[in-house]
Assembly symmetry: C2
Homo-oligomer: 348 residues x 2
DNA sequence: GTCATTCATGGAAACGCTACCATTGGCCAT
DNA sequence: ATGGCCAATGGTAGCGTTTCCATGAATGAC
């Protein structure tokens, strides 16, 4: 059993097969013709030595790395891990590899990530920018010689193609639904307020609230279960407690739900609840939770598609100037009406 | 604004700064001393040109790629995405990159993945083998010249270091707990039976059941919600329905719970339920679900640690023969007693 | 039978970087 | 003043591929 050893090189294979390096190269890449007899000898040598081409050398010769970068806040977040799954699958079917780098939504870490990937000469990027407005990120991305697609959050200036959900519509729709139910004091639990997605949702919420002549109430200080419980307790001890809650992200919805349960506050009798982003068991807990569902799979899929369109159309150097001008794709969300908003289980 | 263009090279920087390539290299790697004045000039040139070192060239020069591969069934699975998160973080703190490749538990896809990563000359691997017993995989891994760590599932023969949870104990413990509650007819819903983890859990279940003089009942045909509902319906129409159910994986636990709810079968009154693997909201649904919790974070952490221990101790060629002999780490699981097993919320 | 044409193959340069070795100039000790 | 040393810097080979060009053999047309 051949155990540990350095990787054999192409010229070692050539020597063993008694041919020139050019011939071995041709056999490996199978593009030009080689005498069957020679080919057999070469393949035998490859087998015997366990030869695997060194990608670094190929890349150096001017070829692409067949590698793409995926820069996201966190890979543990189901939203992004699902995107990663489809991106990875599509990449692989095109013989590309995916390198994942997480940013924790920190801009410096993010720029760092982009630079690292650039040094590794990835052929393209999918990125969920920590800060859509960042001038630093924008100029960094624009000077890269490879195609880039923004996912979930655009890059200001619209020069980078992006695939995002319509957060404004989603939040507006959900808020209107709450208003239609007759709730008057609808508070919005935001989470980290400086993310593009959250800001858009806040906009949608405020728009709906103000159009209805109601007063928007934003609560931005919830980060985990403890803060959720604390805030909610305080709210319901105030003289003017909410009759509905709209949570702007997954984690907050769950924390809020648990806090409400623990505090014995009845949903939707005392307070209605609608969350942004669907999650496992949202339909199974009692009451089932009404949520705005994002097209996660589609988001990842379209982003991958956009990227590979560019990647595959410019086999040489990934120039993106020629291809159709930067696309801004916006995907629809869907309100899933369950019971926590006050709807009976059978429609409303 | 510099837009798209080829990457500048080190010698272009050298020319611009009016120095030799060696000096530029020294400035970049910052290891040998360079006159401050010269250094400034070089750095200015680097800035002006937007130079970024080409990793491929470095690698070709004989350096490691500072890249590791992560080969797992699926990245959408929370178990693995959480492992990925910690692996990624540790890798990054050591200036390594992670390439994720998914296998869907298919052995051929898996071997493919390993080969692809080898061509890219990753410096090491973490892998969750689709088939622990596969001779093909084992010999493939053993002839690789880089360190490897198996995660969640070992590689038969114990020549590859591995970090796994004690699935046997976990399942045995959970089953005994059910037995202590007095249940007599405890069925086990397995999911894909040919995975190492599942087989171990089945062993633990059978061991506990048989030691108690009961009869093991395995049901292997549940893959999704529909099949879960179908199987459960059938069970409760049989002359001899179960009084407890032990589900062997996350997804199955949830599907079973939902099916039980839908069919109006009361937990734990009619039938008790214990699941393998904790999940979000397991403690919030009613009844709260008793589960065997795996040390996910720790699993990923120890695997990463083991890998980097080897990676960092052998700066040259990652030979693993010298380092301490292949470690087999086994981590403990924990039974979280909630209500679905029949325990009252306060202890048992 | 000779020349042109094709086909199979090989030699060698070049990709961008690092590392070895050489060279230069200044400084100190004698 | 001169030799020796050290610090700063540069020239260049070579990592493993691919690709351009060349070579030789063999085939077919005249």
């Amino acid at each position: 059993m051949t155990k540990k050893s350095k990787h054999p090189t192409l010229s070692e294979v050539a020597k063993k097969a008694g041919v020139g390096t050019t011939t071995v190269s041709r056999v490996i890449n199978g593009v030009e013709r080689v005498e069957p007899k020679t080919m057999a000898r070469v393949q035998q040598a490859i087998q015997a030595l366990g030869y695997m081409p060194n990608q670094a050398a190929r890349v150096l010769k001017g070829h692409r790395t067949r590698t793409i970068g995926f820069v996201i806040p966190s890979i543990a977040d189901p939203f992004f891990s699902n995107c990663a799954e489809v991106l990875q699958a599509i990449a692989r079917s095109n013989d590309f590899l995916v390198i994942v780098l997480t940013t924790q939504n920190d801009s410096a870490t993010e720029r760092d990530a982009v630079n690292i990937l650039t040094q590794h000469r990835v052929d393209g990027f999918v990125i969920a920018p920590a800060d859509s407005e960042s001038e630093a990120l924008r100029s960094l991305l624009l000077r890269l010689p490879v195609p880039i697609v923004a996912l979930d959050r655009p890059v200001a200036g619209a020069l980078v193609p992006s695939v995002v959900a319509n957060n404004f519509d989603g939040a507006q729709h959900a808020t209107r639904h709450l208003i239609k139910h007759g709730y008057k004091r609808i508070v919005c639990l935001t989470g980290e307020i400086n993310l593009y997605t959250i800001r858009e949702r806040v906009r949608g919420y405020c728009d709906a609230i103000e159009s209805a002549g109601l007063e928007p109430v934003l609560e931005t200080s919830i980060h985990d279960y403890e803060s959720a419980e604390h805030v909610i307790k305080k709210m319901f001890h105030s003289p003017n407690p909410p009759d509905a809650i709209f949570t702007l992200k997954n984690r907050t919805t769950i924390d809020t739900f648990e806090a409400l349960q623990k505090l014995g506050i009845s949903i939707p009798k005392t307070v209605a609840l609608v969350g942004y982003d669907d999650f496992q068991l949202a339909g199974t807990v009692r009451p089932a939770i009404t949520v705005v569902q994002q097209p996660i799979y589609e988001l990842g899929h379209v982003a991958a598609q956009l990227l590979f369109e560019r990647l595959l159309s410019s086999p040489a150097s990934g120039g993106s100037a020629l291809t159709n001008s930067p696309q801004q794709v916006q995907l629809k969300t869907r309100l899933i009406r369950r019971s926590s908003c006050g709807c009976s289980s059978k429609g409303n």
